[in-house]
């Protein structure tokens, strides 16, 4: 049984490099009634230009917009801002929100946010990490990628990617960029319509949206198709799938192995996302991690497959598939021999 309940509020992240177009997307979200049940954390009201959207002001840092959503600026620690939102909701000072969306700064690596949600003793009982949307600058991505390592952190952490400034480049450039993004992070989807952004609205559906076999962003994870092109390896970044048969899979041994791997090489393990079948359980477990952090895994009841083969997608920097696979095989065999 998952530690998450229907009371957990999905927490979405919108990230992207400086000038990528985050604010443009954010403004669309703030105006859209589809997100009217959300609380949105941003850096500064002035940056987004929402004066014409405000219908009431709760405090200096908190306003309610025409779409129905609550918009707050972050002052100080993120964890305190989130807790403050829950307190205001409880006191009736702000409308009831069903999810939280955070806009990061342009130079932010999203992984510490994950760590905050997982390790904070209050937050882990109130929020669940939902989809991360990364906005990529179609005009300047190459320079950003070459000059700043955080660009890659933002791409590898994404579940969805929005390509900003498409109108300033050719269609061929957008296609090439899309292929590159899929090579770097086969577990994400490049979205082309605002209405498809951050579809995991409710906690009951967040895993459905994130892990549904019908969700194309998980095709690579689930092995239904290969999204990778034949382009050359990029910047020492490897993205690959590992498959483990049910008879060879040991959950706790896998936990020891992955914990050790992240302890030693977490800064090079940019992303882990997996569907794992454990002996004696009908439902698979889904895991999701970014660098050193693994989010609490959960059984999912809607993903039943005939072939109970566990698979895990890795995005690594400087670590190849064969090395990881050999290591995992050793641990699984060692666990099996220990049982005999």
């Amino acid at each position: 049984m998952s530690m998450y309940t229907s009371d957990h509020v999905p927490f979405n992240i919108i990230t992207g490099f400086l000038g990528s177009g985050k604010t443009t997307i954010l403004k669309k979200i703030l105006e859209d009634e589809q997100f009217g049940d959300s609380a949105i954390l941003i850096n500064e009201f002035g940056e987004v230009g929402i004066d014409d959207l405000i219908i009431s002001e709760v405090s200096r840092d908190v306003v309610v917009l025409k779409s129905g959503c609550v918009c707050c600026t972050i002052r100080g620690e993120l964890s305190e801002s989130i807790k403050s939102l829950f307190e205001k909701r409880r006191n009736g000072e702000i409308p009831y929100f069903k999810r939280i969306i955070l806009e990061t700064t342009g130079l932010a690596d999203p992984s510490p946010i994950s760590a905050t949600l997982v390790h904070d003793s209050v937050l882990k009982n109130n929020v669940i990490l939902g989809q991360t949307l990364t906005v990529i600058d179609a005009l300047n991505w190459e320079n950003n990628k070459n000059e700043f390592t955080v660009w890659l952190d933002q791409v590898s952490a994404s579940d969805q990617v929005w390509i900003g400034k498409k109108d300033l480049v050719s269609e061929e450039s957008v296609k090439a960029l899309t292929i590159l993004i899929n090579d770097l992070n086969p577990a994400c989807t490049v979205v082309s319509s605002v209405k498809n952004i951050l579809k995991d609205v409710f906690i009951q559906n967040s895993f459905k949206a994130t892990y549904s076999p019908n969700n194309s962003e998980n095709s690579f994870l689930l092995g239904h198709e290969s999204k990778k092109s034949n382009s050359a390896k990029l910047d020492n970044i490897n993205s690959f799938r590992l498959f483990i048969s049910e008879k060879n899979f040991d959950w706790f041994g896998f936990g020891v192995w992955l914990s050790l791997l992240l302890k030693k090489h977490g800064n090079k393990i940019l992303r882990v996302k997996g569907v794992l079948y454990t002996a004696g359980k009908a439902d698979p477990v889904v895991i999701h991690g970014v660098q050193h952090i693994i989010h609490p895994p959960a059984h999912v009841t809607f993903l039943r497959e005939e072939n109970r083969v566990s698979r895990v997608v890795f995005i690594t920097k400087g670590i190849d598939k064969e090395t990881v696979e050999n290591s995992l095989t050793y641990f699984m065999n060692a666990c099996k021999s220990g049982e005999d």
Binding site: G255, L260, K263, K264, H265, V285, T323, V324, A334
Partner: protein, 95 residues
């Protein structure tokens, strides 16, 4: 925390929470026994042995009998490395 001995009762870790949540005490004990068996299998090459302590903690010992208390898997792994003197890298363990 146990009011008698002060032992912490939380060995919270992502790999153990999913198996131990909402299970009966007998199953939790069996899971724990199995976990310790697997840990001993994996780390005996480093001269490490692990046994169950009172409550939910573990006792990690090396060949010379130096021991440490660990409360969850992450701290067990830290103790294994510290007490063995080895850099335990899963990618460098030979197949």
């Amino acid at each position: 925390m146990c009011g008698l001995c002060g032992a912490l009762n939380n060995e919270s870790h992502w790999s153990t929470d999913i198996t131990d949540r909402d299970t009966d005490n007998r199953s939790k004990k069996l899971n724990r026994i199995r976990r310790i068996k697997i840990l001993n299998t994996l780390f005996k090459i480093y001269g490490i042995s692990i046994r169950s302590g009172t409550g939910s903690f573990y006792v990690v010992s090396n060949r010379t009998g130096v021991s440490e208390v660990a409360y969850n898997l992450d701290s067990v792994l830290n103790s294994c490395e510290k007490l063995s003197g080895y850099d335990i890298d899963p990618l460098r363990i030979s197949v």
